[in-house]
């Protein structure tokens, strides 16, 4: 097991280095003097020179990069140009929001998508199966922001069941927080639900047609046990893959959704930073997002081991 984990980490390490280098290089690619982006127009020449030495712009690029990584690793993300707030504090406030949003979306996909897919697979071409096919097709072409708008229209404005937007931290008031997070997480999760449903259906159909299922049935295994213990466990492996692969799309959806529902998450931080030409928070938020996605990929790989007994570690 440890060897397997180590191998995956070694495989993902160059990608993590490359992505962080790309985020770092945003500063190098910036047209003009980067100290303008970091300190604004009003800074004095001395301040600019001091920052240039601090960031080591006079040094070779690999050296600069190493220093930058060092700063990031010790939690020094710089300060916001606009508010002078340390970017680390902004991250601390915003990471939980985006994390909650994506976790709830994945939860939704598993809780609705997997049973939906199983039901569809049990009666091929039945009405449930047709519904799943249509839902899967539509769910993938549905733009997040439109889904969000439609959900607000229906559940917040017409039916008045849920609040249309706003945010309360989970720790402060869990009930109010969840109420506010339901519509956003459905918005982010809806296309994942569709994909998971379709994948569960496909892989259940495939697994159910295999010999060992027939053997188990011949042995007199009960229907529930057959489905859950024998079929589902193997059918879930590709489903986990799909969820892992969709992490990037999910985060993209979260970025837009945070804007619709005015949630103070990482996506909002990036977009606000772009509008105020405030690069430090944008860089930090993008870095955190990418590293997060890479870590989820690692977790996905490792979870195969737990699901698939055939993968010997």
């Amino acid at each position: 097991m440890i060897r397997h984990v180590a191998r995956r980490v070694v495989y993902l390490l160059p990608i993590a280095v490359m992505t962080s280098f790309l985020v770092f290089s945003m500063l190098l690619l910036l047209p003009g003097d980067p100290t303008f982006a970091l300190l604004g127009e009003t800074a004095t020449l001395q301040e600019r020179a001091a920052l240039r030495t601090k960031l080591g712009f006079d040094q070779a690029i690999p050296v600069q990069y190493a220093r930058w990584v060092g700063h990031m690793a010790t939690g020094d993300f710089g300060r916001s140009l606009r508010t002078q707030e340390p970017v680390a504090d902004m991250l601390a406030a915003r990471v939980p929001v985006t994390l909650e949003l994506t976790v709830l979306a994945v939860l939704l996909a598993v809780v609705i998508g997997v049973p939906g897919g199983i039901i569809a697979s049990l009666k091929r071409n039945g009405w449930a199966d047709l519904f799943v096919s249509f839902f899967a097709m539509g769910g993938m072409a549905l733009p997040y922001f439109w889904a969000g708008i439609l959900l607000i229209r229906l559940f917040a404005l017409k039916l008045d069941w849920l609040p249309p937007s706003g945010f309360v931290p989970l720790a402060q008031d869990p009930v109010a927080n969840l109420k506010l997070m339901i519509l956003p997480s459905v918005t982010v999760g809806i296309s994942l639900v569709a994909l998971v449903m379709r994948q569960t259906r496909t892989s259940m159909l495939e697994v159910l047609s295999q010999d060992y299922i027939r053997t188990a049935r011949a042995k007199g295994v009960s229907r529930t046990r057959l489905l859950v213990r024998h079929a589902l466990q193997n059918a879930l492996i590709p489903v986990v893959t799909v969820i892992g692969l969709q992490m990037g799309t999910l985060v993209s959806g979260a970025v837009v959704t945070e804007t619709i529902f005015s949630l103070p998450g990482l996506g909002r931080m990036v977009v606000e930073g772009i509008f105020t030409r405030d690069l430090a928070p944008v860089q930090a938020a993008i870095l955190v997002i990418v590293i997060g996605v890479i870590l989820v990929n690692l977790l996905t790989d490792l979870s195969y081991a737990a699901l698939d007994r055939r993968i010997k570690l």
């Binding site: 160059p14 990608i15 490359m18 992505t19 280098f21 790309l22 985020v23 945003m26 690619l29 910036l30 047209p31 097709m137 539509g138 993938m140 072409a141 549905l142 733009p143 997040y144 922001f145 439109w146 708008i149 439609l150 607000i152 229209r153 404005l157 992490m247 990037g248 799309t249 999910l250 985060v251 993209s252 970025v255 837009v256 804007t259 619709i260 990036v270 977009v271 930073g273 772009i274 509008f275 030409r277 690069l279 944008v282 860089q283 993008i286 997002i289 990418v290 996605v293 890479i294």
Partner: protein, 294 residues
């Protein structure tokens, strides 16, 4: 020599043509693919003939008909300053299609060149380029696009550049893989033996056998590019306000909740366009018998 070559050339001609015909026939029988193609054609016609099809000027302000619900005068209603939504949706098709097309062609050219060079040259070049592509691929699509815009600044040209950059690694990886499988084939070796230069081999001999897959991939990417484009427009990072875009119309609609028509119709346009691109891409993939994508 020339005598013996002529029949061979003729055979090649008929074979390649019949392959095209087979693909076209298969596409014609692909129901979802044809549905997609029909919708795409409708959108293309809307885009091409927008000034003639649209009942109003998309920027024409009418203070007497602000936030008017759908009626005979304005079939899809009007927006907050009395502009006709139908006309704006039709002109929006023009903007979106242009952006999607330019972005995909750009990423195809750049990604294709990187993939060709990487696969054909191999070695260190390949290694460096592919690590760079892996790094770009690790970013979520929209987040990478936002990163590019953060560096270049928010405007339409930069949004197009961002959409192109985001799709470069996909094309590069695809083309590289194809090139690797073609590189050692007999006809490439033969070209090399006749003394063809590297550039000629890449462009004349390798590229055509890769092109089919690239076209399928491009059409499969179209819906994702469209959705990313409208996401950027929705966030206010696409074309600037007087230009009508579907995404930006939806952003405005969020300030006028009572006007359902403002949020329904532009959304429907994006939804059906994305769906159509998906269906057509699938159809094309089946017709050309290519196994890529999901």
């Amino acid at each position: 020599m020339s005598q013996s070559l002529a029949p061979a050339l003729a055979i090649r001609e008929t074979r390649s043509e019949s392959r095209f015909v087979t693909a076209a026939r298969r596409l014609l029988h692909h129901r979802a693919g044809m549905c997609g193609l029909t919708v795409i054609l409708v959108i293309v016609i809307c885009a091409a003939f927008a000034p003639w099809l649209a009942p109003y000027d998309p920027a024409e302000i009418d203070y007497d008909a602000m936030i008017a619900p759908p009626s005979w005068l304005h079939p899809l209603g009007t927006d907050e300053i009395g502009r006709d939504i139908l006309s704006r949706v039709i002109f929006g098709a023009r903007v979106s299609l242009q952006i999607v097309f330019v972005a995909i062609v750009l990423s195809l050219l750049v990604g294709g060149a990187i993939g060709l060079a990487s696969g054909y040259v191999g070695g260190r070049t390949d290694n460096v380029l592919m690590r760079l592509m892996d790094g770009l691929l690790a970013f979520p699509l929209l987040v990478l696009a936002l990163g590019v815009i953060a560096v270049l600044g928010p405007d339409l040209i930069n949004a197009i550049i961002a959409l192109a950059v985001v799709n470069v690694p996909g094309f590069a990886r695809l083309v590289r893989g194809q090139v690797l499988s073609v590189r050692e084939r007999d006809f490439v070796q033969a070209a090399r033996a006749t003394g063809a230069g590297h550039l000629r081999i890449m462009v004349v001999h390798v590229w055509p056998s890769v092109a089919g897959n690239v076209i399928v991939y491009a059409s499969l990417r179209a819906s994702a590019v469209l959705i990313t484009e409208s996401s950027l427009a929705f966030l206010g990072l696409g074309a600037t306000p007087p230009t009508p875009t579907w995404g930006q119309m939806l952003a405005t609609a969020m300030e006028y909740w009572s006007a359902w028509w403002m949020s329904i119709f532009p959304g429907l346009a994006i939804f059906f366009a994305a769906l159509a691109f998906n269906f057509f891409g699938d159809g094309l993939r089946d017709a050309l018998d290519v196994r890529i994508g999901e």
